[in-house]
Amino acid sequence: MTAPAKFVGRSVPRLEDRPLLTGQGRFAADISFPGQWTMRVVRSSAAHGVITSIDASAALALPGVHAVWTAADVAHIPPIPFRLTGLKALEPYRQPVLAKDIVRYVGEPVAVVFAQDQYVAEDAADLVEIGIEQQQALMHATDEPGAYTEDLNTEPSVVRKSYGDIDAAFRNAHAVVAFELSIGRHTGVPMETRGAIARYDQARDILEMHGAAKVPHWNRDALAQMLGRTRDSVQLYEGHVGGGFGIRGEIYPEDVLVCAAALKFKKPIKWIEDRREHLIAANHSRQQQHKVRAAIDAQGHILGIDDEFFHDNGAYMRTHAATVPDLAAAMLPGPYVVPAYRAVGHIRLTNKTPCGTYRAPGRYESTFVRERLLDAIAAKVGVDKVEIRRRNLIGKAAMPYTLGLETLGTHIVYDSGDYAKLLDKALDAADWKNLWLQLLKRRAAGEKVGCGVAMFVEKSGLGPFDTVRVEVKADGAVEVITGVASIGQGVETVVAQICADALGVDYAGIRVIHGQTDRIDKGMGAFASRVTVMCGEATRLAATKLRDKALNHAAQLMQTKADALDIVNGEVVRIGGGASMPLGEVARSLPDGLSAEDTFESAHMVYPYGVHVAAVRVDAETGGVTIERYVMAYDIGKAVNPKLVEGQIAGGLAQGIGGALLEEFLYDEAGEPLSVTFADYLMPTAREVPESTILITEDAPSPLNPLGLKGAGEGGANPVGAVIASAIDDALGRPGAITELPVTPQRLRTILNGAAG
């Protein structure tokens, strides 16, 4: 028997907040060790060139400088391996920890300085002279591939996904709509920049790295392998993390360098990234150009979608390898019936910062593409944008729905969903009819206002497993130990809520240990909106096991049967009243203590889905866009903590708006990055992010786990570019006007001028 839910489903306060709000947070930069050296990276100032010389003599002569490393000093370290979607063909394109012979983007690490403190390190880095013979930079993924090495070109691979008879679909089409669309280069920009502090404990022969995030266990194994050590002799420690968004916590050259240096010099080595570095060195994302067309029948039903796209991955293939283009291709069909489909995604390298995943990777991109198509189909057929979506949605009765595509090593099977119902709910929440009428009136009065709608299917809960151990300490405290990570999303609270209900204790007394490789042997980390689903269910399993164990043992002590007992508020009690026993006492009476471990395995992802509605006002004279209304509906099966889900969705919206209107990494034709400060790379602020209405629904619990959980991390960001584009089109009265993100005032003004001329 499981106790009724007391905590799951409630917006209880975050357990994480007390330390953070009382100044007890320990972020990477807060961690220091006695005698530590500071590392500073000397980065390439050229986008593409041959290194002809490196002269570190002036740097080495500076008082306080301990050493300078170049590629020769790390020749024994292999390039950084892939974590996901690593195709063999991509391996020659992995990034070395320091550039050897050739530099491929501005910001690439070429040398590192080790010095007594940050000031001296930066002074010394300025003195390292790097001679580079510049070569032509390749700046556009749509250009003909160039030479990467003598034998290889800059197209490492092509992602191909298809099903159905696409040629027949177009042959039989009543009409075809076609687009060339592009999504700008932007990325997650956490408040906390990256940081890594390595320390080598000679006495125990243990290498420690602090400042880990996201995937500490995988990184531990990879670092051990790269440095030629056993996995047990490398331990990673996650502190507080100021945001992840996909980019933080992957292995980058700097992580490897601090570890290698700690081993070599037997000194703690600290590296904290500055913001300029962050904007040129940490993963970029998103940049794609799509040539897409859809075949439709006379009523606007989709017969087929054919997409060829160019994914600009920057200078190297980093840990995510082909993940982003793979997901873009696999998730493009979305919530609609698409009888035939073909996607061909060219992975192209350019002389820009390398790319990785960013919140809703591949989906922000392909949702923009798909929803642009839907709007165009509506215009072609002459029905409104809501009706065209209704006509094409996958019906509830079709669930579970096998898409016929694979991604991240799983078959895509939409596990549950009632897409039409959520569309109705979202439109109700937006008061769509009135909104439409009001905007119509204002347009008649000369204002350029409009509204848009976009739908999407997300994916979450990537397996293959998560393991959790739950322990009751001798003093009755409960500890949950997991191999997932906290990047600020509320893991501790959510896991505690699930554990509390399964075990019968107060969530506030549960300590959740995460991101520590020395506390649990295996762990998958925090990505792909997987934690609540995978770790949540593993926690429920382990806590249930622990509860049975506790009740069986307590039954002996209390001379009754286990099924006559219950656990309430941490006390084993007799059902119907009588003597009770604290869980701590049960734990103390067991020679090996009271603990249980369990694993949740899942071969399939779970698929939340959502609808965004936006209304915008366009300033025709300046090209400025103001978002007047924003509604987000998201069905996540079961919300463990609705307030935290709202936070996820609201935060995702802000980032989505960044990519839709503001954020863009620009380069000149020589490969010089032009967006290297927050004055040039425009993050949305509280003034640019509108108030929004968030509707969390639980109409389609996942059948793949007992609580019905689906992840909620990425639905706030996924369709924002798509819905803003739809709304701007409407404001301009020109379906299909927006083909490029972000919609900057300059670009929008050009579109408006095009209309006038």
């Binding site: 940050q118 000031y119 930066e122 002074d123 300025d126 500055d274 913001r275 300029r276 004279e621 300046t622 090209g623 400025g624 503001l662 620009l666 000149d668 032009l674 400060t677 004055a679 425009l682 949305p684 602020t685 003034r687 640019e688 900057t744 005032p745 300059q746 003004r749 050009t750 001028n753």
Partner: protein, 285 residues
């Protein structure tokens, strides 16, 4: 993000400050007031001054005074000092209105009016105010004191008539007529960003017609300046849409627009047309 090494001097008197400045000016010495522009560019190592003359503790530089004709703003007066009107004259309300558009609150509590003028960013609001209202800059050095008219002071992007050893000790703004109208408008990508174009207008209405118009445009050219053609288009006209549009068109035609990788000259003209008209509309709303 650590600056290159520098020596910070902290004089207590103006004489002392000017003396130090004269000594270090030739060795890449710079004046530090609010530091809201200088310190970030030092952190990026785009500027590596060997000496900083920190004037924050110099007696008497934080004063705002008025003699009934002009408003004098000392070198250490912060932007935030203008959050409420500092003088019972339309100028006080004008400065309050404009101050709200300068960056963000924390920056306004530290950055200074004169520092903004010494930095001379093309889109700085205070530079636009100084140019539009024909401010007088008072520069002092160990060699003496001189006054510089706004039209002579701004010499391009982050370039002014100040000599290396001169400290901008004061800016003098003429008070406006008691019945003067003013309007301001700017366009930026985000709230608080540097304006991509900004306009400030002042005028009086005499017998139903506009007189003594000042129309200044910032952010569109290397330095803010008054737009004579636009002013001519406005003077003698009744305030209203027709006159405002004509003035805006004149300003847009007259500028020699700044261009960058994202912003064409044509777009900059569009913005100037919009902000000038909106500033004029703002003056009557």
């Amino acid at each position: 993000m650590k600056p290159a090494p520098f020596i910070r001097h902290v004089p207590k008197t103006l004489d002392e400050a000017l003396k130090i400045l004269s000594e270090v000016a030739g060795q890449d010495g710079r004046v530090l007031a609010g530091g809201q522009s200088l310190v970030p560019i030092m952190a990026f190592r785009l500027a590596k001054p060997a000496h900083l003359v920190d004037i924050n503790e110099v007696e008497g530089l934080d004063r705002i005074t008025s003699d009934g004709k002009t408003l004098s703003i000392g070198a250490c007066v912060r932007h935030a000092a203008f959050h409420k009107p500092v003088v019972d004259n339309p100028l006080g309300a004008l400065l309050t209105f404009v101050a709200r558009h300068i960056a963000h609150y924390p920056i306004r509590t530290r950055g200074t009016f004169c520092g903004s003028l010494a930095h001379a960013d093309p889109s700085a609001e205070w530079c636009l105010v100084a140019a539009t209202l024909d401010a007088t800059m008072v520069a002092q050095s160990t060699r003496g004191e001189r006054s510089i008219a706004a039209a002579d002071y701004f010499q391009g992007i982050m370039s002014t008539a100040l000599a290396e050893d001169e400290l901008l000790t004061q800016v003098r703004l003429p008070l406006l007529a008691p019945d003067a109208k003013f309007g301001f408008n700017e366009f930026s990508r985000r709230a608080g960003d540097f304006a991509m174009s900004a306009a400030l207008v002042t005028y009086t209405v005499q017998g139903g017609k506009i007189a003594g118009a000042h129309i200044g445009v910032g952010g569109a050219e290397p330095s803010p300046r008054r737009m004579a053609d636009a002013e001519a288009a406005l003077n003698g006209q009744a305030p209203g849409d027709k006159a405002f549009r004509a003035a805006a068109e004149a300003a847009a035609s007259a500028i020699d627009p700044l261009e960058d990788h994202q912003t064409t000259g044509e777009y900059r003209r569009d913005l100037v047309r919009a902000v000038v008209r909106r500033a004029l509309e703002n003056s009557v709303s």
